[in-house]
Each structure stands twice: as structure tokens, then as C-alpha cells.
């Protein structure tokens, strides 16, 4: 109880990190809802890795073309964001365009993950001077969240959430029945592109802030959990976001209280929630079948 009171107090030392965690936990599921609905879950594995490769590539390209960059400057985060976002968007558009060929989709995503992971290491190895520092940018370090970076996160994630809410009927239509969207003259390609842009921005910022593991975890696990307990689209999205935010807070609490690594603690708690809901549903079905007989 003391720990809980401590982390919610205004003077808490890691307050920005806590708020950042909850923001990631809240917004990633809102975007992840579309990963689940469009059956693109495995892209949620590959894209954070592509994002990390983009960060490593950006710094390598900068060093080769301009010179050594300066660490701990704001421009460093912008450079990382540029690399992350551009690679994520290109990877997402290519994989989404090839998604029609369902028979090879898993192979493509698996290959993308492997290539991106290898490329990240190779780019890092080519820039040994920056290697030690860049590792933090690549794996995410939410504990190092500062006031300015939190403001950036809040602004970007807030914009993503607003756009998802404002255009939810368009995104639903192009996701559920693309033919119907085309017949309505709704420029399905444009709406797909906007959705992919928001996915790319969320993943890029999520990876830089919290790392690929936490980003993937919150993209996928809260929506999968929410899908099992909701029957309507709006409720599905809001429940996924709430589950993500609560899990992020609870994970932060557990990590702080028991001195655990933050990201894995959050993902483990989210997974535990999914397991509990799955079990409860299974037991409920068994009970109903027993009552019927």
C-alpha cells in the first residue's frame, strides 16, 4: 500500500516514466485492435523489429553522410524517430500490399523479422562508437522518460487516439467490408494509408519509448483479451485501451515494488490477464454445457 501511495504521489521521482508507461499501454491497444481485426497480428512482431532496424540505420547513415552525431541532444531523438518511422511505414505498406497472397504471409513476416533483427545488429556493429548508447534507443528505456519527451508522447498519442475516434466508422468499413467501402466511393486506399500511418507512428514512438517487446505486447494482448469479453466495436476498442492502461500501471507497480525489469513485468501481467479471461470463458462454457444436460 505504501508503494502504491508513493507512485501516485505528485512528487514521485519516476512520475514521467509511469505516465509514459500508461500512455503506451493505453494507445498501443487502440491501434492493436486493427491488427487483431485485420488478422495482422504477426505484423505486430515484425514491425517493432523493423522500427529498431530503422533507428540503427538512421544513425549509421548520418555518420556516413554527415559525421558523428552528438549524444543526448534532442536532435538525436528526432533522427531516431525519422529512421524508425520511415522504415516502419515502408515495411508496413509492403507487407500489407503482399497480404493478399495468404499462402506465404507467415513466411514473409517471419523473414521480415529475421532480416530486421540481423540488420539492426549489423548496423550497430558498423557504428561501434554509438553502439553502447544506441542500445537504449533500440530497446527502449521508459524509465529515462523526461518532461519534454512525455509532452511529445502525449501530443502524438493524443492525436492518434483522436483520429482513431474521429474516423472510426471509416476505418471499420474499410476493415470489415472493403468492397462496400469501394462501392460507397470512400477511397479505401486512402483510409488504409491513414490507418497504416497511425500504426507506423504508434509503433515507432512505442519502440523508442518502451522497446519492441512492450510495444508488441500492448499492440496484441489487450485487444485479444478485450475481444473475448466485448460484443460491440466501440466497447472493444475502449476495453482494450483500459486493459492496456491498467496493466501498464499494475506492471509498473510490480516492477517498482519487487525490483523487476519494467517491460517484461508489464507484458507478463498482460499475458496473465489474457490467460485468466481465456480460462474463465472456458469454464463458463463447460458450466453452461453441464447445465444444459
Amino acid at each position: 500500500m505504501d508503494t502504491l501511495v508513493e507512485i501516485v504521489s505528485p512528487g514521485f521521482l519516476l512520475r514521467d516514466a509511469l505516465i509514459g508507461s500508461v500512455l503506451v499501454g493505453c494507445i498501443c491497444p487502440l491501434v492493436g485492435v486493427y491488427f487483431v481485426l485485420r488478422r495482422m497480428i504477426f505484423l505486430g512482431v515484425a514491425l517493432p523489429q523493423v522500427s529498431a532496424a530503422g533507428i540503427a540505420f538512421a544513425f549509421l547513415a548520418y555518420r556516413m553522410l554527415i559525421g558523428q552525431h552528438q549524444h543526448f541532444m534532442p536532435s538525436e531523438r528526432w533522427l531516431a524517430m525519422l529512421g524508425s518511422l520511415s522504415w516502419t511505414l515502408v515495411g508496413l505498406l509492403i507487407l500489407a500490399a503482399l497480404a493478399r497472397h495468404r499462402e506465404t504471409v507467415e513466411a514473409r513476416i517471419g523473414m521480415t523479422y529475421a532480416v530486421a533483427a540481423a540488420a539492426t545488429i549489423l548496423f550497430l556493429a558498423a557504428d561501434p562508437a554509438a553502439e553502447a548508447h544506441m542500445v537504449n534507443l533500440l530497446k527502449g528505456d521508459i524509465l529515462a522518460t523526461t518532461g519534454p519527451s512525455l509532452t511529445l508522447m502525449a501530443g502524438v498519442f493524443g492525436a492518434v487516439a483522436l483520429l482513431l475516434l474521429a474516423f472510426r466508422k471509416e476505418f471499420l468499413l474499410v476493415s470489415f467490408d472493403r468492397d462496400q467501402a469501394v462501392i460507397f466511393g470512400k477511397h479505401a486506399g486512402l483510409w488504409d494509408s491513414l490507418l497504416y500511418l497511425m500504426i507506423g507512428i504508434t509503433i515507432s514512438l512505442g519502440v523508442m519509448t518502451a522497446g519492441p517487446l512492450v510495444t508488441f505486447g500492448f499492440l496484441v494482448i489487450p485487444p485479444l483479451t478485450a475481444r473475448m469479453i466485448t460484443r460491440r466495436m466501440l466497447t472493444f476498442s475502449l476495453t482494450a485501451a483500459c486493459l492496456g492502461a491498467v496493466t501498464a500501471f499494475a506492471g509498473f507497480y510490480c516492477a517498482y515494488r519487487f525490483d523487476l525489469p519494467l517491460g517484461p513485468a508489464e507484458v507478463a501481467l498482460a499475458s496473465l490477464g489474457l490467460a485468466m479471461v481465456t480460462t474463465a470463458r472456458g469454464l463458463s462454457r463447460v458450466w453452461e454445457r453441464w447445465r444444459a444436460t
Binding site: L37, A166, F167, K169, F176, D177, F184, R227, F236
Partner: protein
């Protein structure tokens, strides 16, 4: 074809530049009830999708007697084309039909909700509005999709095998509903079907598609017993 609701003039349709149908010309009049029939793979769905603008025309042109941008056609796809992972109630599926006339940023309002409720009432499913779409029977799902097509407030309703995979009783209910919409409301209807018996009893005109060619005529002529024997052989 000055008064036709929809006209095809020497149209070729296909995929990846290869024509499945060529030199197709016919017109659909306002209030017509037309069935597209033919063997499997003849191009019935291709023709339907071409009329809807879902596949590009390879040659010729399709003309419309209405403004598609403000009044798009109603479309009822096969229900298997839709993914059951989406958590949607029957009402929410029907509401999607109202999106046709809603600009981005305009929310769904009372008018759209009342229209969706009225369309569900028309198909006899008002009491199932809040049921999950995927929990409905095959016939009920198909009627919800018809309601969605009606919520578009269309000039013409196009249906792709609306009785596919449903039991005979449900198939009769669905076809009766469609026939009633055409007869009582004057709605122009085009449907793809394999149910010859139901088509013969309810539909007024038939477009037969085979070997890339079409022939159109009144049902009693196109599906006369001797013609059916020609097509399918004697029983």
C-alpha cells in the same frame, strides 16, 4: 439505353487484364427483377462485381441512370466473405449501410439509427438487433445483410447468391423478402443464384451466362422446361 437504370455497352470484364466476359450488352430497367444464372465459373459474380464498380471494365462502358456518388447501389455479399472476428451486433452491421451518405467526421445520428431500425423491421429481425451478428443463423445473417443493403436507400440492390448455404426454408424466406421489396417498393433487384426453382417462381427476367456469352429474356422463356432439359439434360 436512355431510360435504363443500368446499361452495359459492349463491355468486357475480367481479372489481371484477362477477359472472363466479352462484348456484353444489355440494360436493366427501373423496377426490374433480374437473376444472373449460368454454370459455375461462367462469370456471374464477375458481371455483378463489374456492375458494382469493384473490378475495372476492360472494354466498353457501363452507364448508370442515377448518381452513384450520392446514391450508391445496395450490395449484399455472400456472408462468408465477411470475417467473424469483428465484434458487431446486427444493428451495427445494418448501420454500416448508412455510412454511404455520411461524410467523414459526421457521426451516426438519430436519422441513421431510425433508418437501420426500420430496415431491420422490414426484414423481420427487429427483435434481434442487439444480438451478435455472428451468433445468428445463416438465414438471419443474410437478412441482416439485406437490411444493410436497404439502409443505403439504393436505386438498385445487387445480391450475390443470397440463398447460398442456408436451409430450404430460410432460402424461401429470403427470396420471398426480396420479391416483396421488388413488388411492393418497386426496388430494382439483380441477384446471382443457383436456385432455379425459386428463381422460376419469383423472378421476372433472367440473364443466362455461358461460355462468355449472355442471353436475356423473361423467366418463363429462359427457364421453360424444354430449355432446362437442353441445359441440364433429361431427369
Amino acid at each position: 439505353m436512355p431510360h435504363a437504370l443500368l446499361g452495359l455497352q459492349d463491355v468486357s470484364l475480367g481479372y489481371d487484364g484477362r477477359a472472363v466476359l466479352e462484348h456484353i450488352s444489355f440494360a436493366i430497367e427501373r423496377g426490374e427483377f433480374l437473376a444472373l444464372l449460368g454454370p459455375n465459373g461462367a462469370g456471374k459474380t464477375t458481371l455483378l462485381r463489374g456492375m458494382l464498380g469493384l473490378i475495372p471494365v476492360l472494354a466498353g462502358r457501363i452507364t448508370y441512370g442515377f448518381d452513384r456518388s450520392t446514391s450508391p447501389p445496395g450490395y449484399v455479399p455472400q456472408r462468408d466473405a465477411l470475417d467473424p472476428i469483428f465484434p458487431l451486433t446486427a444493428r451495427e452491421v445494418v448501420l454500416m449501410g448508412t455510412y454511404a451518405r455520411l461524410a467523414p467526421l459526421r457521426p451516426v445520428g438519430r436519422r441513421q439509427r431510425q433508418l437501420a431500425a426500420a430496415c431491420l423491421e422490414q426484414v423481420g429481425l427487429a427483435d434481434l438487433a442487439d444480438r451478435p451478428f455472428w451468433a445468428l443463423s445463416g438465414g438471419q445473417k443474410q437478412r441482416v445483410l439485406i437490411a444493410r443493403g436497404l439502409a443505403v436507400e439504393p436505386n438498385i440492390l445487387l445480391l450475390d447468391e443470397p440463398t447460398a448455404g442456408v436451409d430450404p426454408g430460410a432460402a424461401i424466406t429470403i427470396m420471398d423478402l426480396i420479391a416483396r421489396l421488388n413488388r411492393d417498393q418497386g426496388l430494382t433487384v439483380v441477384l446471382v443464384s443457383h436456385h432455379l426453382r425459386l428463381v422460376r417462381s419469383l423472378v421476372r427476367s433472367v440473364l443466362w451466362i455461358e461460355d462468355g456469352r449472355i442471353s436475356k429474356g423473361a423467366t418463363e422463356v429462359m427457364l421453360a422446361p424444354e430449355r432446362i432439359i437442353d441445359i441440364f439434360g433429361p431427369l
